[in-house]
């Protein structure tokens, strides 16, 4: 399979838009990716040919919807190489998936237990654990990874007999650096901690193999991998999912109910109360197919090449500080000391260039970097070299306009 971003772009209608009288240059892909026509078609087809509630059988449309809904579960299971589709729980996104685990494991924590995260986490993989610690008296501990994602042998001491849960991102959303996930998971497993991997920033770029990672839980969002918004996945090993207390109860997740008792349904339904986001789930099939149809190796090489181009263009500019690594990333996160990132963002936006300025939901990491915010350009498969060049040119213009006083 040959990979050609210019050909691929044609599958994304939104990329033809102009923004503020300029061709849209969409480099905010770490926040959300755009959707290919196949995903849009799947959503429309669901409503025009199959709309009905799922798992209630009883009629033609419901059977169709249920079949497509469960087919999507199979498809996602295959996409992440889960051993069984029942290990895939639908959520509304990464954040909900992490919260399901943080609440679902509350029973197993007591004072003096430890929950371990790293210093590269998104707030979504920090606040639920912090609040869990507050509720149970457990301690939240933070493994101090550097901004280069470096792992030190001395970090082993963070994993100890008190460590009950280890939660870590695979890739930092704010600066795009990979974490030494396998080494950390090995250390966590050695002390028999539950392990959760936040794959939100990984799924669009790298093939994911949950059995190879061997984590208890793996979580991600559909909208960051060319799929619909409002759908996400909690993958879990069966023993790990089994011990989660259902956070939400109600319809669909029960077998039998009396006024005095409820018998819960089996997995995965036990953790999916209420009518699910059926269109989102069905859209996930199209998103997985879209990615599976690409030459994934060529695709990630292309995305990294774009980030490397920007890095190389800007690295000798003395007014720019870059926080992302030079290689092995799809993100360039930077700041210009003396110029607010919101101002840089304002000028880029006026030229049609969409990036993200802010703390990227990672206040502690920003503090570690010594900044209050960064400007983040994040690449996806449909971005081109001319877009990468345009970002650099407009950024330099912005610095000239904003830096003259």
């Amino acid at each position: 399979m040959a990979f050609d971003a210019n050909t691929l772009r044609a599958q994304f209608p939104i990329l033809q838009l102009e923004a503020n009288d300029h061709p849209l240059v969409y480099l905010d892909n770490a926040a959300t990716t755009q959707k290919p026509q196949a995903v849009l078609d799947a959503l429309m087809a669901y409503y025009t040919t199959s709309n009905a509630n799922v798992h209630r059988g009883a009629h033609y449309l419901s059977d169709r919807a249920t079949a497509q809904f469960e087919h999507a579960r199979d498809r996602v299971a295959r996409f992440i190489n889960a051993a069984d589709s029942n290990h895939v729980i639908w959520t509304k996104g990464t954040t909900e998936a992490i919260n399901l685990v943080a609440y679902g494991l509350e029973w197993c924590l007591k004072p003096d237990d430890e929950i371990l995260i790293t210093s590269l986490e998104h707030h979504a993989n920090l606040v639920p654990w912090q609040q869990l610690a507050f509720r149970t008296g457990a301690r939240l501990r933070v493994l101090p990874l550097t901004s280069k994602g470096e792992w030190e042998p001395e970090y082993e001491r963070y994993f100890n007999d008190h460590t009950r849960i280890f939660a870590c991102t695979q890739i930092s959303n704010a600066i795009g650096v990979k974490t030494p996930i396998k080494e950390m998971l090995a250390a966590a497993k050695a002390v028999k901690a539950f392990t959760l991997v936040d794959g939100a920033q990984a799924v669009a770029h790298y093939p994911v193999d949950v059995q190879d990672l061997d984590c208890d839980f793996y979580v991600f969002s559909g909208h960051k991998m060319y799929g619909p918004t409002g759908i996400g996945v909690l993958y879990g090993k069966p023993h790990a999912l089994e011990v989660l207390t259902p956070v939400q109860t109600g319809g669909e997740m029960v077998r039998h109910v009396t006024y005095n008792s409820t018998e819960f349904n089996v997995l995965p339904y036990r953790l999916e109360a209420g009518t699910p986001n059926i269109e989102g789930v069905i859209g996930m099939t199209a998103a997985c197919d879209f990615l599976a149809n690409q030459d994934r190796t060529a695709m990630i090489e292309w995305e990294q090449k774009l980030a490397r181009y920007v890095y190389d263009e800007l690295k000798f500019n003395t007014s720019i500080e870059i926080y992302s690594p030079a290689t092995d990333t799809t993100v360039v996160s930077l700041s210009v000391p003396g110029i607010h990132t919101l101002d840089l963002n304002g000028y880029l936006d006026s030229q049609g260039v969409a990036v993200r300025a802010g703390s990227h939901c990672a206040h502690p990491l920003m503090a570690q970097l010594g900044v209050s915010s960064t400007l983040r350009a994040s690449f996806a498969c449909y971005n081109t070299l001319s877009e990468a060049r345009r970002f650099c040119d407009v950024l330099i213009e912005a610095i000239e306009i904003l830096g003259d006083d």
């Binding site: 009288d21 607010h340 919101l342 936006d349 006026s350 030229q351 904003l402």
Partner: protein, 130 residues
């Protein structure tokens, strides 16, 4: 404060027909804002709810309010120039009766007052009226 009147600022901003033009106008306006000293940038003077850091100080003289404001972001300093042109030289009672949000919306800034930033601007207007 400078001598730029509300009408002059409004005319300049309304003449902007692109986002780039508005951006440059706000940057230009920002240069005329009298900056606060570091000593005035206290937590008490800080306006909460803004994406950038914003400080607002109020002075009253014979019932007439004069505000000074500053931000670490230039676009916000440009917007603060607009706000100060609206609110300086009026009594508190008068300010409290006016619909400052509606007045600000006449400055052709809607694309800059995005929701999160609008929230910041709303916080400034609220602090002016309190």
């Amino acid at each position: 404060m400078t001598d730029l009147t509300r009408d002059a600022i409004q005319t300049r901003l309304q003449a902007c027909t692109s986002k780039e033009a508005t951006f440059k106008e706000l940057v230009s306006l920002s240069k005329q804002l009298e900056r606060l000293t570091d000593a005035d940038k206290t937590e008490e003077n800080r306006v909460k709810g803004c994406e950038s850091a914003v400080w607002l100080i109020e002075h009253q003289d014979n019932g007439v309010c004069t505000f000074q404001a500053d931000s670490d972001a230039k676009l916000m300093r440009g917007v603060l120039m607009v706000i100060l042109s609206l609110v300086n030289g009026h009594s508190k009672a008068e300010l409290q009766q006016r619909d400052l949000v509606a007045e600000l919306s006449q400055f052709n800034l809607s694309s800059y007052l995005t929701s999160s930033r609008t929230n910041g601007v709303l916080s400034v207007l609220k602090k002016v009226q309190n």
